[in-house]
C-alpha cells in the first residue's frame, strides 16, 4: 500500500526533508499519507493502545531503575523506599505494575481481534509472526519484572518458571546444568536477580524494535477491516490522519480513565498480597500463583500429569499460534460471515477465561458434580488444543460462508440506504 508523499512548504522543513526524509516516514505511517479502510471499528484501536503502553512502561521503568537496588538484601527495601520516600514514587510504581496488566489486557484483545477478523491470513502471516514474537518477549519481560521486588511470589515464581527448563536437563541428561546456567548458582539467588534486572531493562527496547518491524509489515498490505474483504480503491479508504488519529485518541482517553481507576483506587487488586512479604528460600507460600496474565498457560501446565508433557503443552499452547494461518484454510477472513466458526471462537474465548480461573484455583477443589479443578483443567486444555488442531481445520473446510459484500463502500451504502419495504 504505497503511501502519499509528504510535500513540505516550509523551506526549513524542506531543507531537513531533503537530507533525512523523516517527516515523510511519519506522514506515511501515522499521518494523512496513510490510507486505512474506512470501516475500521474500535477493535482496531488496540494496536495503538499497545504502543502507548510500551511507551508508558519504558518511561516509568527507566525512572524506577533510578531508585531500585538489584541485590537480594536490598531489593525489597528499595521498592519500599520507592513507595514511601521517593517523590511520587508510589504512583510511578503503581503505574508500572498496573501498566503491565493493562498492556496484557490490550494485547490479548488485540490478538483475539486477529482471531475474529482473520488478520493472520495471507498476506499478513509475517505481521502475525512478529505479533507472536512481541507477545513472547512481553511474557519474558513481565515475568522478570515481577521477580525484581524480591517478595515471596517473586522468588517462588522465579523458581518454578526457571525450573520449567529442567525438562531439557532431564531430556539431555545434563543433571541440572541448564538450570544452573540460568540461575548462575545452585538456586535462585543474587546472580539470578542481577541478570533478570539487566534483561528486564533491555527487553522492552528489543520489543520496540520488533514493534517497528510489526508496523512496517502492517503497512505493506495495510489493515484489514471488519468485513475482511480487501479495500479496493479510494472510495473504500480514509486517510489515517485525522480520521483514525482522532478515533484512536478518543479510545486512548477512555482507556486512560480505566487505567487511572486501577492506579488510583485499587492499585493492588491485580497483585498478590504475599509479594509484600520478603523472599524466603526456606518456605514456599501455601498457594503460589503467577500474575493473572499467565494463568491460562499455567493451568495448561498443571493439567498434564507428566512434567515433560506439561511443560511442552504449555510452550506449545503459545507456539501453536504460529501455525494458525495454515490451520484455518477458509478463504473468508472475517468470522462475521462464518457463523459456525464464530460459535467455536466464542467458546474458545470463554474456555480461555475459564482456564485462567482454573490456573489460580487449588487443584483438589471440587468445581461441579464431583469434578475437580484438575479434571476441568484437562477438559479445557483438550478444548484449547482441539480448537487449533481439529475444529479450525475441519470447520474451515466444511463451512459454507455467508455471501460477502462486493466492496466496503457498497456495504456502507447498503447499510445506510433508506429501507423501502418498511
Amino acid at each position: 500500500m504505497a503511501s502519499k508523499k509528504f510535500e513540505p512548504t516550509n523551506p526549513a522543513v524542506k531543507w531537513v526533508e531533503d537530507r533525512l526524509p523523516i517527516m515523510n516516514l511519519v506522514y506515511g505511517t501515522l499521518g494523512a499519507g496513510y490510507d486505512a479502510p474506512r470501516n475500521l471499528n474500535y477493535w482496531w484501536n488496540f494496536g495503538s493502545l499497545a504502543g502507548f503502553m510500551l511507551v508508558v512502561q519504558i518511561l516509568t521503568g527507566v525512572i524506577l531503575a533510578m531508585h531500585y537496588t538489584p541485590h537480594v538484601d536490598m531489593a525489597f527495601n528499595s521498592v519500599e523506599h520507592i513507595m514511601r520516600d521517593v517523590n511520587y514514587g508510589h504512583i510511578l510504581r503503581y503505574v508500572h505494575a498496573n501498566g503491565a496488566s493493562m498492556f496484557f489486557v490490550i494485547v490479548y484483545i488485540h490478538i483475539l481481534r486477529g482471531f475474529y477478523f482473520g488478520s493472520y491470513k495471507s498476506p499478513r502471516e509475517i505481521l502475525w509472526f512478529l505479533g507472536i514474537i512481541i507477545f513472547l518477549i512481553m511474557m519474558a519481560t513481565g515475568f522478570m519484572g515481577y521477580v525484581l521486588p524480591w517478595g515471596q511470589m517473586s522468588f517462588w515464581g522465579a523458581k518454578v518458571i526457571t525450573n520449567l527448563f529442567s525438562v531439557f536437563d532431564d531430556l539431555l541428561g545434563t543433571d541440572g546444568a541448564i538450570v544452573r546456567l540460568l540461575w548462575g548458582g545452585f538456586a535462585v539467588d543474587n546472580p539470578t536477580l542481577n541478570r533478570f534486572y539487566s534483561l528486564h531493562f533491555l527487553l522492552p527496547f528489543v520489543l520496540a524494535g520488533v514493534v517497528i518491524l510489526h508496523i512496517w509489515a502492517l503497512h505493506i498490505p495495510g489493515s484489514t477491516n471488519p468485513l475482511g474483504i480487501d479495500a479496493k480503491g479510494p472510495q473504500d479508504k480514509l486517510p489515517f490522519h485525522p480520521y483514525y488519529s482522532a478515533k484512536d485518541l478518543f479510545g486512548l482517553g477512555v482507556f486512560i480513565m480505566i487505567f487511572g481507576a486501577f492506579v488510583f483506587y485499587v492499585p493492588n487488586i491485580l497483585g498478590h498480597p504475599d509479594n509484600y512479604i520478603m523472599a524466603n528460600p526456606m518456605s514456599t507460600p501455601a498457594h503460589i500463583v503467577p500474575e493473572w496474565y499467565y494463568l491460562p498457560f499455567y493451568a495448561i501446565l498443571r493439567s498434564v500429569e507428566s512434567k515433560l508433557f506439561g511443560v511442552l503443552a504449555m510452550f506449545g499452547s503459545i507456539l501453536i499460534l504460529f501455525a494458525l494461518p495454515w490451520l484455518d484454510v477458509s478463504k473468508v477472513r472475517s468470522l462475521r460471515f462464518r457463523p459456525l466458526s464464530r460459535f467455536f471462537f466464542w467458546i474458545f474465548v470463554v474456555n480461555g477465561i475459564f482456564l485462567g480461573w482454573l490456573g489460580q484455583a487449588s487443584l483438589e477443589m471440587e468445581v461441579f458434580m464431583g469434578l475437580t479443578v484438575f479434571d476441568f483443567g484437562q477438559i479445557s486444555t483438550a478444548y484449547y488444543f482441539a480448537y487449533f488442531l481439529v475444529i479450525l481445520p475441519w470447520v474451515s473446510r466444511k463451512e459454507t460462508p455467508l455471501p460477502l459484500p462486493t466492496s466496503i463502500a457498497q456495504h456502507i451504502l447498503d447499510k445506510n440506504a433508506p429501507k423501502e419495504e418498511v
Partner: protein, 177 residues
C-alpha cells in the same frame, strides 16, 4: 587434448580458491565460537558461588518424628528422624508400584535418618512435611505426593527427592556436601 589440460588447470585454480575460502570460513567459525563461549559461560555459577562450603548438622537436636530444614547452597535440605513405624512402612513400600523405583535402604545410611533435598523435583517448591496421600511429603504447588522415604508416588514430579552426598562424622553429626 589441449582443451583438457586447460580444464585441469582451471579445476586446480578453482580448488585452491575453494580451499582458501573454506579455510577462512573455518578459522572465522572457530574464532566466533571462541568469542561466544565466554559470553555464555559467564552465566554459569561463579567461583565464589562454587566455593560454598559444606554444612554440618547436629542430629541430637532432632527428636524422633521430627523433620528439620537446613539451608544448603540456597535450597533446603530435609533431615528427618524417622520412627520405627515409618521405617517399617518405607521398607514395606519398596514393593509398591513406584514411579521412580528405589529401595529405602539405598536412600539412607542409617535407617532412622532420612537426609534428602527439600526441593520438589517437579518445579522446585518446598514440599510440606507429613502431608499428602502417602504419609510423607506433599508439594502444594502442583500436587506431588512423596512417601516417607521421599519417593515420588503421585503427581507431576518425575523423580524421588534426591539424596545429597553426606557422611557421618560421628553418631550425632553429619556433614553434607
Amino acid at each position: 587434448m589441449t582443451a583438457k589440460v586447460q580444464d585441469n588447470n582451471q579445476d586446480e585454480e578453482v580448488t585452491r580458491r575453494n580451499f582458501i575460502y573454506v579455510a577462512t570460513g573455518a578459522v572465522g567459525a572457530v574464532g566466533a565460537i571462541q568469542v561466544v563461549w565466554p559470553l555464555v559461560d559467564q552465566m554459569n555459577p561463579s567461583a565464589d558461588v562454587l566455593a560454598v562450603s559444606s554444612l554440618e548438622v547436629d542430629l541430637s537436636a532432632i527428636v524422633e518424628g521430627q523433620t528439620s530444614k537446613f539451608l544448603f547452597r540456597g535450597s533446603p535440605v530435609f533431615v528427618r528422624h524417622r520412627t520405627a513405624d515409618e521405617i517399617a512402612r518405607a521398607e514395606k513400600e519398596d514393593n509398591d508400584d513406584l514411579k521412580d523405583p528405589e529401595k529405602d535402604s539405598d536412600r539412607v545410611q542409617k535407617k532412622q535418618w532420612l537426609v534428602m533435598s527439600g526441593v520438589c523435583t517437579h518445579l522446585g517448591c518446598i514440599p510440606l512435611d507429613q502431608q499428602g496421600d502417602f504419609g510423607g511429603w506433599f508439594c502444594p504447588c502442583h500436587g506431588s505426593h512423596y512417601d516417607i522415604s521421599g519417593r515420588i508416588r503421585k503427581g507431576p514430579a518425575p523423580t524421588n527427592l534426591p539424596v545429597p552426598k553426606y557422611v557421618f562424622l560421628n553418631d550425632n553429626t553429619i556433614k553434607i556436601g
